[in-house]
Symmetry: C2
Subunit: 252 residues, 2 copies
């Protein structure tokens, strides 16, 4: 493993530990499964559509997105990734499914050999359970995006996305005073929300005007999460987190 000391994989551990109960020993063992820690610059691809899935790839630092391109050139971003997120779950079924992952900012990425992970799961079944839970949460997030795209208007969509990101960042201990780092451009947001970048701009301005949101230089600030959540029709429990009564994991 390279430079484990420079970049902490803590968000990853926090992510999984927030889904299943894990003992100290298990967390340590899990940590040692990480075999490589790479960096990518903004806009670089982290995973290609057709890449074999012999590694579990985990985002450790920075922002990234999953997306797919249509034959007509349009792009749909299907997920934003925050530190601790697993980039792609195809290793669970050893299939290859068509979507790529790209960095939105400079990122650090950890890679875990699937074989080693599966082997370790024999001794620690909690590892596989954690992955399946993470995958289920991922599904829930996708489902909620579908609802955004189908039923929410522009203002609600943007508000919803920000609430979702805030919750996910908070879970891994990366929200401070209502602020967190998130590197998508307005065009990226448009490709994720099914809006033009022009309209994303109009919408963000409206949210700023209402003193709900601040956004600049890759830092998002939510001034009033409650009002924003109401506006967004945001229901945290629908994301599959904390339904088990388990909130953000305390980092000791």
């Amino acid at each position: 493993m390279t430079d484990r000391n420079l970049v902490s994989i803590r968000p990853f551990l926090a992510n999984l530990a927030g889904l299943v109960r894990m003992r100290e020993e298990e967390l340590t063992h899990l940590m040692h499964l990480v075999k490589a820690l790479n960096r990518h610059t903004a806009h670089q691809h982290i995973l290609e559509e057709e890449a074999p899935s012999d590694r579990i790839v985990v985002l450790i630092q920075g922002s990234a997105c999953r997306f797919r391109r249509l034959p007509n050139g349009r792009r749909q971003i299907t997920a934003f990734l925050v530190p601790g997120d697993i980039c792609d779950y195809r290793f669970l079924s050893s299939g290859t499914v068509g979507q790529s992952v790209a960095a939105l900012s400079p990122v650090a990425v950890a890679r875990i050999p699937v074989e080693a992970f599966v082997a370790a799961s024999e001794t620690y079944p909690v590892f596989m359970r954690a992955m399946l839970s993470a995958s289920a949460v991922n599904d829930a997030i996708m489902r909620e995006w579908m609802i955004s795209l189908g039923q929410r208007n522009a203002l609600e969509r943007v508000a919803y996305l920000l609430c979702e990101l805030e919750l996910r960042m908070r879970r891994v201990g990366l929200v401070e005073d209502g602020s967190f780092s998130f590197a998508a451009t307005q065009a990226d947001l448009g490709d994720a929300l099914g809006l033009s970048s022009v309209h994303v701009n109009r919408t963000l301005q409206e949210l700023r005007r209402r003193h709900l949101v601040g956004m600049s230089k890759g830092v998002v600030t939510l001034y009033d999460v409650d009002s924003l959540g109401r506006l967004a029709l945001f229901e945290p429990h629908s994301l599959g987190y904390d339904r088990a009564g388990r909130a953000a994991v305390p980092m000791h």
Copy 2:
């Protein structure tokens, strides 16, 4: 198991056998895991949001949908289910995630106790692999719906949905002469596609006018799958099927 003779669970077996290679013995064993076969009338709920997931619920006959309701009353259909489909994958992670499943027509449903299934997977690991594959396909379908909602216009969306359904029905041997049964109303289609029922109507008429599609009394006919697919920006391989070189499974 009740009245196994009246309703064939063949679509279910075809579905899984189309994802992983299974021997005759395994298919037989799988069949014997089915412990109950129930019927529901149209509009009845098959699964509630909060239901415990101690059964794997499989649609055997008829049409159904997964959906979630927003606090403002609007409804987003997140998936249509065709015979052979697993209604809900939450049993994989033993979490409860908020969506319901409802019948669109009279349906038959099989139930497999999760415990028995997991136990059987010890002897036949292919069972669990099949479930994970089915879940991955389910993800791919959801992803493609997100792309529809975000990037395709009304005509493309409707066309896409019909192509997808045709493919899925064909996989389980339920397409004859380009026709298959599908019971959603135009309002249902609207709730799935993020369109008003009025506009779904306009759009279907346009597809009929172009001699691409026929639809009446719960029977869909595609007159020209190729043209329709082109119009829809439909890329079958993106659904995760047949990427492994495996097309619709021959039923011997």
